[in-house]
């Protein structure tokens, strides 16, 4: 095609630009992204303060506030990815997108990029406000914070890949899965309690969930001062497996949707 240049990165950048335009088109939405994590932090901050004198092990090192913030990273990462995809469905735009030379994996990467930006917009203000409000700085964790954050972002994306696969195949009727899925894994993730609290069968299930290792690792670091690299690697390994499975599921669902003409029908 004369006069045109085409590359995957160019298309991913175009998608990113589109999501950026969407984001900046509504200031209330930007504020809302930061609002929920901040409210969570404030609420759990006071809970932590209340229990500090009677249960120091529960609040040592600001663990309660830190795990709340880190858990919200997963939730934001997942919601941001899936909502950006839902925007395409709500606006019945999938047909236009995939008539363009856009490949499904480029869409996935574009969604992941904007998810990361939205997650940072949500989490950074809450994490910064925790310092003056409750004297807890998650940034003092240094590299482990980045490792925890990165793993939970990956888990969020993996969940989103499964949800978007279902959405593209079965339509907006499956929309509520977006909100349900993070809470399905929450009890097994051992966010607020150690793994040993769970009954044996739940511990078995929990061992297949990457977030369990992240929160166990975080408790070890904040309460015992031990950096458990092995837990992080287990989380990363599981994330790689789930991301691979999620990508495969999405690509399969996309192929089925395209064969059945569902891309043009997707929407409200």
């Amino acid at each position: 095609m004369t006069g045109l240049k085409n590359s995957s990165w160019g298309r991913i950048l175009a998608l990113f630009t589109r999501y950026f335009f969407l984001l900046r088109s509504s200031w209330p939405r930007i504020i809302e992204i930061a609002y929920w994590p901040t409210m969570q932090m404030v609420m759990w901050g006071f809970v932590s303060k209340h229990f500090a004198p009677s249960s120091p092990e529960l609040t040592a090192g600001g663990v309660l506030i830190s795990v709340v913030l880190i858990w919200d990273t997963l939730f934001r990462s997942h919601i941001s990815y899936t909502l950006s995809f839902l925007e395409e469905m709500w606006s019945r735009n999938l047909g236009n997108l995939f008539v363009a030379p856009l490949r499904p994996w480029e869409l996935m990467l574009g969604l992941a990029c904007i998810s990361l930006i939205r997650t940072l917009i949500g989490m950074v203000p809450a994490a910064l406000l925790a310092i003056p409000f409750f004297g807890v700085s998650v940034f003092e964790m240094g590299f482990p914070l980045f490792a925890f954050f990165f793993n939970l972002v990956l888990t969020g994306w993996a969940m989103s890949q499964f949800v978007t696969a279902i959405l593209i195949r079965y339509g907006l009727g499956a929309e509520s899965l977006t909100w349900v899925l993070p809470f399905l894994i929450a009890p097994f993730s051992c966010i607020y309690y150690p793994l040993s609290t769970l009954p044996a069968w739940m511990q078995d299930v929990a061992s297949f969930i990457p977030t369990t290792y992240v929160f166990e690792g975080m408790r070890a670091l904040l309460i015992e001062g031990v950096w458990r690299q092995d837990l992080l690697l287990q989380a990363l390994g599981l994330n790689v497996v789930y991301l691979g499975l999620g990508m495969g599921t999405f690509l399969f669902a996309f192929r089925v949707a395209r064969t059945h003409g569902l891309l043009l029908q997707a929407g409200e």
């Binding site: 240049k5 589109r18 509504s26 735009n93 047909g95 236009n96 030379p101």
Partner: protein, 165 residues
Amino acid sequence: MNFSSPYVDLPQRLTVRENLLVYAKLYGVINPGNRVAEVAESFRIENLLNQRLRRLSSGQKTRVSLAKSLINKPEFLLLDEPTASLDPDTTSWIRELLRQYRDKEGATILFASHDMREVELLCDKALLMKKGKLVEEGTPTQLLEKYNRDNLEDVFLQVNRRKEE
């Protein structure tokens, strides 16, 4: 390749310019800003560029969708009822614009329409379909001669009723 259909929307919260710019970039158009200005001029939507899509009338949205469909100067263009919701005057110049584009760029246009007059005016070859199956094909002149009719609408009715008998 590109595509336009009244049944597939562009994002409503973006402005016309933002929508066109994103698609120009998706198609890898060089100087996307210039190309957006060109198609905006062609489809007479320059004054709408900074408006959000949701504020436009359905006719204006159709013109934006058509502008998007030419953003990459496609060699193959899929149009689904491209003049739906346009007034007769706009329909007339849009048809002319599409014809000029086809001739200038040597593009192939696959065009789905229920408006047989439009098919007669624009198409080199017409395919009549019924329940997803091809039931007749030929140039508009061939079809008119074959069925001894004055216009394609009558041809369509005859073909459609014949098959139902």
